[in-house]
């Protein structure tokens, strides 16, 4: 009953947001309104909002959050954790230890020592024990899967610290209560996982890097669902140019497995073995480009004026007037299509501290194009998991 009420409120909210927004469904992409599915056992509500309070006072920007329920395997001893970042750029579930207290079974190495993971993202790393849980989202369940419990008193080993990244081991640094990795990869590390990612940590002495097998690694939880396990769709409405306080949408599981998750004309762009495709901008092809809901803007090489280094937004673009751009994405399957997008002055966008969603936020990056969350506003984006069978052919691919 409570769930139904939540769903109703959610549906009304989306409808109202669309009615009030001139740009609803228009977006910077296709010009047609995207349909957002709000009911079904394979549908989880997603919210782009300011996120959990961080002590530095900065809100989250372009971060899509979902609620995830974690249970002791085979029991109803569960905890629902909100504000978990929806990340199509990684695979595997990672939750801050501060957000729950459940006796989850610890994964141990062959010699009985507990297994820990140091997982590098681009702007920080997570570190903590690998434990087993049932993971539930919407009506879907991944039974007895491994998750990373972020945050521990065990000191990260040298191999982890040598990435040189800042730790993302609490709410202040992660700016979320966890990360739900539902990307192209079926496992977080993959075949030939190096010894700088997983470690065994004896009760005394230092942690040692181990070669974690595919089966032991964190799995993309979607692959373990009984149905709807070949990929996801992220469905978010368009966001007006000035930004919006919050945005409601859906995370839909499965591609073409139900009446509510068909490809319906979306173009399939396959990814290469590294999870990249080619974006061409101003005649220059960037073959290591990607779509990533966990990045908070459009990041690409450009001569657009950057925000001052001394500002709160160094590295973002701060053009004097909004720049309209066009780029071409091409999949490994040679399918290509043009993307039109805009980049506005980040300092102006951020001037309203109550806004969390910006469709025209961009920043600098060299050598590749990183299509972050703004790419998802106003168009449904399909993410098919490597090796999975779908009506659009086998993953890995993106379709939109």
């Amino acid at each position: 009953m409570k769930e139904l009420r939540k769903l109703l409120i959610f549906t009304v909210t989306v409808g109202l947001a669309c009615a009030l927004s001139v740009a609803c469904g228009g977006g910077s992409h296709s010009g047609t309104q995207n349909t957002i599915v709000t009911s079904g056992t394979n549908v989880a509500p997603v919210s782009v909002n300011l996120g959990p309070a961080a002590s530095d006072g900065f809100p989250s920007v372009n971060a899509a959050f979902v609620s995830v329920t974690v249970c002791v395997p085979g029991t109803s001893n569960c905890k629902t954790i909100d504000n978990v970042l929806v990340d199509t750029g990684s695979s595997g579930l990672r939750i801050l230890s501060s957000e729950f207290s459940l006796p989850l079974p610890q994964q141990n190495a062959s010699d009985g020592n507990p297994v820990y993971e140091c997982f590098p993202f681009v702007s920080g790393y997570t570190w903590g024990p690998v434990q087993t849980a049932d993971v539930e989202i919407a009506g879907e369940k991944a039974s007895s899967t491994t998750i990373e419990v972020i945050g521990t008193s065990i000191t990260p080993p040298t191999g982890c610290l040598n990435f040189g990244l800042p730790p993302s081991n609490n709410v202040d640094s992660l700016r979320a209560n966890g990360i739900l990795g539902i990307g192209l990869a079926a496992q977080d590390c993959g075949p030939g996982c190096p010894t700088s990612i997983y470690y065994e940590c004896p009760a005394s002495g230092s942690c040692q890097g181990i070669s974690e097998s595919l089966a032991q690694q964190l799995q993309n939880p979607v692959t373990l669902f009984a149905t709807d396990n070949n990929g996801v769709i992220i469905e978010l409405p368009a966001v007006p140019a000035a930004g919006e306080a919050s945005v409601s949408g859906s995370l839909v599981f499965g591609i073409g497995t139900q009446s509510n998750n068909g490809l319906s004309g979306a173009k399939v762009y396959t990814a290469d073995g590294s999870g990249n495709f080619t974006t061409t901008l101003n005649g220059t092809p960037y073959s290591q480009s990607f779509i990533d809901s966990g990045s908070n803007g459009f990041f690409f090489p450009s001569t657009i004026t950057q925000c001052p280094r001394s500002s709160n937004e160094p590295g973002f673009y701060c053009p004097a007037s909004t720049q309209k751009l066009s780029a071409t994405n091409q999949g490994a399957n040679s399918v290509s299509g043009t993307v039109s997008f805009s980049v506005a002055d980040a300092a102006t966008l951020f001037a309203n501290p109550n806004d969390s969603a910006f469709s025209d936020l961009g920043g600098t990056f060299s050598g590749a194009f990183d299509w972050g969350l703004p790419f998802f506003y106003g168009q449904n984006v399909f993410v098919a998991i490597e090796g999975a069978s779908t009506p659009g052919g086998p993953g890995p691919y993106w379709a939109y």
Binding site: D56, F58, P120, V122, S123, G124, G164, S274
Partner: protein, 161 residues
């Protein structure tokens, strides 16, 4: 272009394991960026990699393919100083090894950037004496680090990849 023979390094390592470990420990192990070109071989051993070198008019590039699948290119000037490093592969490289004496500056700058209004996004560090650009996603990282003051004349940052 010249081919090094990693197998000879490996077999030497096997044949005289202890001796090599002592030798490596005695070398300036943390001396890549800003160090002399001899540190490239140290990196190759550290990464258990194979190496290929290419020489242009203004610099020499040593490409090391690490056992982890990550490819590192080290750019050395004609005077033998490593002025830039670029990498790509499934995981970030050992930045402590590659940045050498610049590692702490990188760590502090990366920390400062994550403290500003950043969220998850590429690292773009531009400081006097050190530029680091790093991006991608798990299973596909890429980036470069260089000392702007050390770039040989005519070499553009875009050329380093």
């Amino acid at each position: 272009m010249s081919e090094e023979h990693p197998s000879s390094v490996k077999s030497r390592a096997r044949a005289a394991g202890t001796a090599l470990v002592l030798l490596v420990a005695a070398l300036p192990v943390w001396a890549s960026l800003g160090g002399d070109a001899s540190s490239v071989q140290t990196d190759q051993v550290h990464m258990q990699g194979t190496r290929q070198t290419t020489t242009t008019q203004s610099y020499t590039v040593s490409e090391i393919r690490a056992a982890t699948g990550t490819v590192v290119r080290e750019y050395a000037s004609s005077t033998g100083t490593v002025f830039a490093i670029a990498w790509h592969g499934p995981w970030p490289p050992d930045m402590h090894q590659l940045l050498g004496s610049y590692f702490e500056q990188y760590v502090q700058a990366a920390k400062a950037q994550s403290a500003a209004r950043m969220g998850r996004r590429p690292l773009m560090i531009e400081q006097p004496g050190l530029v680091v650009q790093s991006g991608g996603h798990p299973r596909a990282f890429s980036g470069k680090a260089y000392v702007p003051e050390m770039l040989p004349q005519g070499v553009r940052a875009e050329d380093l990849r």
